[in-house]
Each structure stands twice: as C-alpha cells, then as structure tokens.
Symmetry: C2
Subunit: 398 residues, 2 copies
C-alpha cells in the first residue's frame, strides 16, 4: 500500500531519496525502506548516481522510476493509418510504427489483425514480461468496455473492439480502447507534475474534448462525455453544431472538396493575409470562443489545451479567441489559460499508452472488494533468495 504511494511520488519523473519520501508521506524511513525494496525487486525503481549532495549530513540515495520497468503500446486509428508507439515508464517514446491502411479501415473486423501486427512489431523491441499492454484510441464514441458505439469517420457502429483485441492478443497484454480525445488528454495529464483541472480540446475533422477534474477523467455514465463538437452554438446568427463551424469538416473557405485536413491547413496558412481567409479565421475564432466559454462555465477548467491537426491554426487567432473568451466569462469566473498541446500528431497514440501507464499508479478503488495487482511484479534480474533489502546495493557495494 505504501509502496504504491512511493511509486506515485516518482510518477512525474522526480528523483527523491527515501528520506524525502518519508517526509512527503508522513511515515518513517523504515517503512519507506521496505516499500522501496519491494519496488526495486519488482524492477519499477532504480537508484541514480546521486545528483547533488549540497546539504550537511549523509546524502540520500536518489530514486527514480526505472524506464524499463514497464512498457506500453499505444495505437491511434484514423482513416489513413494505424500509428503505433512504444512508451516506457518515463513517458519516452522508444519506438514507433506507422502502418498505412488503404480502404480497409471501413471494416473494423479487418482492422483487428492490423492493429495487432503493428503492436507485435513494436513488442519485438522489448522484453515481453515487461510489456503491460496495448491502448487504442478511436475517433468516435467509445463505451466503458471499449466497444466502439459510433465512429462516423471510420464508418464503424457497435463493434466490441476491446473484446476482439483481447481475444486475439497475447493473454498477458492488457487492452484498453478509448476515445481519441480521452487518450490525448491522458497524454497531457501524464506529463503534468500535479493533477489539475484540464480541458483537452481536439480539433480535427470533428471537435472532441475530454475533461480532467483535478486529474480525474470525467467519462460520464456511458463513457461518452466530451462531445463538445455536438454542442449547438450560434455564430453570427447561424446556429448549428460546433464542429460544423470549428471542425475541419466545416471549416469555411479552407476545406475544398477532396482536400485532406493537412492540405486545408497548409492552404489557410499560405493565404493567411487574404480577406477571405481572415474572415474565415475570424469566424473560426468566434465559434471556438463561444464553445470554450460554454464549456468553461460548465466545467471550470484552469487550463484548456488545444490539440489535433487544426490546432496549428490557433496561434493565428490566439488573441481574438482569448479576448472573446474573457468577454464572455461570467463576472467573477476566471478565464482559463489556453495552450497548444505538448504532443503533436502522435498525441493520441501516446495517450492511449499513457492510459495503461496510469493504471500502474492508480489508487485502488475502495468501492470494490477484491482487486488484482495492476502489474505483474516479476523481478527484472532474477536474484536468488535475496532478503529484498539487498536488491539495490549493486552500485553502493561495488
């Protein structure tokens, strides 16, 4: 129990000594000693070559996450490719693979082996015992059990993707299928040091979102929360779903028939000074500001993070959006800060993997009765009959 708390202290990449942890958790150093020994034999933490002594007294031994302690695969599915990444415990991408799909994306059943083969080729880079599992991000409505309820872009309806993957994948892999905005938000969350109230807005063909309240994902009763794109807004007298105005599919002037999102965005940037484009951007800014204001009044995030292909247009309208957003805010209601996402095109795939990573740090749900350990705690280096307290000491004793 305490060992999990210790692990959580290292979650953000910090280096702490045992004594630091003891102070942070309000327990004795002895207790931390046991917990760390446990984590070390499980291969989840490492001692680092002691950074800076500085203070008087015996310097502590810095502990950090073992990057190789656990590995996670993340896959993003869209109409062009299956993009997969392999993530280590410190959130570093250590391998990637993009597998273009032709027209096969229409058939979810046919995509299952494609997803798994992309994953398998990443899995080859690492020790299978350390591989926690596979996360998949899908653009569309995904239920609590990873079933794709409706993914209009892909043309999928009611397909139990998580179940299908679970059946076909190695039994040791954990499988998690989720909405792409949820995944993207998880990536941002994992990179945060402290939990915050964060609204992730994914600007792609549609407009998706995910809200993390104090670091906790708000998924709703069915897992469908965050459909910001379907909010009805009215811009310059025209009323309709936000994503018909702020999403790529409805971006005025930019999205010519047959163009990809990237082409449209490139064209907008190339013609950024023409009156036509300026007007279109202004309309976009207006729609965005109203949508974000509505979401802010309902959710009160401290930060809004914009991601997705269209978000590269945001700097062009940043001033207009923030200004209108502030103007729309209720008296006393603080306008959240607006940023671009930390991760770019790979964000959803990284986030899908990050969701699995988060399980390792997740507090047990005290609501339920019995729960298995989130990760098999097999030692990286099998040591015979060690009293656990000697598990680290290689560096010190050598």
């Amino acid at each position: 129990m305490i060992s999990l708390q210790c692990l959580r202290l290292l979650q953000g990449g910090q280096s702490l000594s045992r004594a630091d942890m003891a102070r942070a958790l309000g327990v004795t150093r002895a207790t931390i000693g046991h917990a760390v020994a446990e984590l070390a034999t499980a291969g989840l933490v490492l001692e680092t070559p002691t950074p800076t002594p500085e203070r008087i007294g015996r310097p502590g031994v810095a502990l950090r996450l073992n990057p190789q302690g656990a590995l996670f695969m993340g896959v993003e599915i869209d109409t062009r490719a299956v993009s997969a990444v392999l993530l280590d415990l410190t959130m570093r991408v250590i391998a990637r693979k993009v597998d273009p799909v032709g027209d096969t994306f229409h058939d979810p059943k046919a995509m299952v082996p494609r997803i798994l083969s992309a994953a398998q080729s990443l899995a080859a880079h690492t020790d299978p015992a350390r591989l926690a599992g596979l996360g998949v991000a899908v653009p569309g409505l995904v239920g609590r059990h990873g079933q794709v309820v409706n993914a209009p872009l892909l043309g999928w309806r009611n397909f139990a993707l998580q179940e299908a993957l679970q059946d076909a994948a190695p039994a040791t892999w954990q499988i998690d299928v989720c909405n792409d905005a949820f995944a993207f938000a998880s990536a941002e969350r994992a990179a945060d040091l402290e939990p915050s109230s964060l609204l992730m807005v994914l600007l792609a063909e549609g407009v998706g979102s995910a809200y993390l309240d104090e670091g906790r994902m708000i998924s709703g009763a069915h897992g469908f929360a965050g459909e910001l794109g379907h909010m009805i807004v009215s811009v310059h007298g025209k009323s309709g779903a936000l994503e018909t105005m702020a999403g790529a599919a409805g971006f005025p002037a930019a999205m010519r028939p047959g163009w990809s999102v990237a082409q449209g965005v490139a064209d907008v940037l190339a013609t950024a000074n023409t009156p036509e484009t300026l007007a279109a951007l202004d309309l976009w800014a207006e729609a965005l500001a109203i949508g974000l204001a509505n979401a802010t009044h309902l959710l009160d995030p401290s930060r809004i993070v914009l991601g997705g292909p269209l978000s590269v247009l945001y700097p062009a309208v940043a001033d207009a959006v923030t200004q209108r957003l502030s103007a729309l805010m209720l008296q006393g209601h603080a306008a959240p800060s607006l940023h671009l996402a930390r991760y770019g095109g790979e964000g959803a795939a990284i986030g899908a993997a990050a969701r699995l990573r988060a399980r390792i740090f997740a507090l047990p749900d005290l609501g339920k009765s019995p729960s298995a350990t989130p990760f098999p705690t097999a030692p990286v280096v099998p040591n015979r009959a060690n009293p656990a307290s000697r598990a680290l000491r290689q560096r010190t004793t050598s």
Copy 2:
C-alpha cells in the same frame, strides 16, 4: 479502515447483518465483528429488532445507521429568508426554521449572526456532541474555501462567508459553504442507493447546475463548475445566455414586473391554455432542451434532475422537452432520463446538510498524508471499560 467500509454499506438506509457485510466486502466475519463493535461504541450503528428470519440457519442480527448518530444543520440563503433544517444520519428532517430577512440580505456581514442564530435554535433540539456542523447554500459563485465570489441575487461580492462563520460559530461545528445547485445535487445524491452520473439543474431566477460523475461532485478548478445558465444558446434565432430564456428572470410572459417567482409560476399554471402562455412554454421547452442537450453531450449523465421553483412548470412541457432532447442527441448517444427533484423547496438546505453528512462516509483522500477522523467518535452512552464486543448486546442479553 474496514469500519468505514461497513458504514458505507449502510449509507443508503439498508439493514445488513455482519455476515452480509463480510460477504459484500470480501473479508471475514471476525473482521466485521471488530469493525461493527467500533461503530457501535461510536454510536453510529444500531441493532434492529431482527426483521425476517426466512432462511435456514442462525439468523443474522440486522444492523443499521443510528439516526441519532450524527446530526447536521443546513441553511439556504435567498432574498426572502434564511431557511434552516436539522437532518439526522438517515436523512430525515427532524426540525426546521425559517427566518425571514428584510432588506438585510444585502449585507453579508450582517447575515452571519442571522445564519448562526437560526442554526442555534435548531441545535437546541439535540445533543451538542452529536452535532457535526453547519452547511450553507448560497445562490452564486462559491470558491473552494467557501468564499462567496459573486452572488448577483444577493448583491454579494468576495465575502469569505465560511471563514466568517467558522470564527463566530462554536469551535466544534464543521462549516461548509457551497453553491445552491451543488447543495441540491448533494441531497439527491444522498438519497441514491448507488452512485450514478447525475446532472442536477436548478431552475430558479437563474439556472444553476451541478454534475456528479459516478457519484463524485465535479467542482472545477475554482469550485465554479455548473454555471449552465451562462451557456450561450440560440433559440428561434435569438442568441443569449440560457438563463435569460429558461430562468425565471427571463421567462417571457410570466414574470411581470414586481412579481415573485412563485406568483409568476402560479400565473403560468392558471393561464396554461392561453395561446400566449403556450407559446411562452414552448419557447421555454426549446431553450431547456438545447441547454440540456449541450450539457449532455459534454457530460453524459444517465439522469437529469430538475429542481427549483420553476421546475413545477416542467410537467407541462415534459413531452416537448424529452422529444427535442432525443432529437438533438448525437447518433449513439443515449438521451438521459429526466425527473423532478425528490426534494422541493427545502432541497438546497437539506443538501447543504447532506454535504456534511457525506463527509462521514467519505473515503480518505490517499493523495494527502495525514487526515483526522471526519467525526468525533465519542460514545453516545459512556460505558466503562467495555471490551467493545459487548457494546451492543443489550437486546440480546436482556
């Protein structure tokens, strides 16, 4: 730790035997025996006169919450009165007091003693040692620390009400100041047996809301979440904040100058068949449906509960609202069910008290290090040197 879990099992008013609890929590009966003895000496649970033997074998002893185990006061503040209720552990109102305020409500500082005197007169009904504290519901923006940031109806700005009450109230009282919609939602939540994803919408002069995701209140970064009334919507070409269309202050045709909400509502009901009123109700239904659809796409509640004075008009438009709401829902997105609130005019006061009650059942926040017990566990009947296991047995041994 286990004793809290036992308490939580009884939260909804259920009667369970020790063996039932052991099965539910996946622990041995011995463990439950200890935990229950602890709860019994703390005066939080009681044995009941054994309801129904039924099954073969020795019948279990039914346990339930001791209604007198803890008492909570809740106060609602509006422009007409300070309304206070005294709630027991089983959510029953055991005393009430309405203290009309004249024009003094404008001065928050002057309201502090009025709130406390109303509370004191309720506190006289009960044992001070069993009185957990006082919850206060305020119509307006309330920050995380119970400071009223902006309450337009009352004309309050930036007043640290919780702090002021804490200073003036008896030191043993816990004080909690929150938004009225949050309070109302807490009342509904407490009456639920299972945690659900519930959107509470409070239809008063303004339109407030509160969302509970799987039973957990979503309060936002500053505690300002739920300002549904400030969502910009467009109804029949007219665009503006939802509460100017669906709130009493902006209810067309009904709210004549100088009328109270109650008068306006009565007038609407009296003239429900005139074309004018029908048109007004239709507009109201339309605005409500759009607001609820927007909120549903963002939050995905399984239930929406309507409360507040205006909610009595809802049955007149129920069909229109549910129909339009369904029509606006995204393909695959389930429309939530719509209900009227369980509690009427006292809902906010009851909810303010229920928030304190919820603390007794709250799981400890594993994020923080040291936490005091949420409730002083002084025995109701001081028994000398009892080995705790004999604490109940009165009924059995007599």
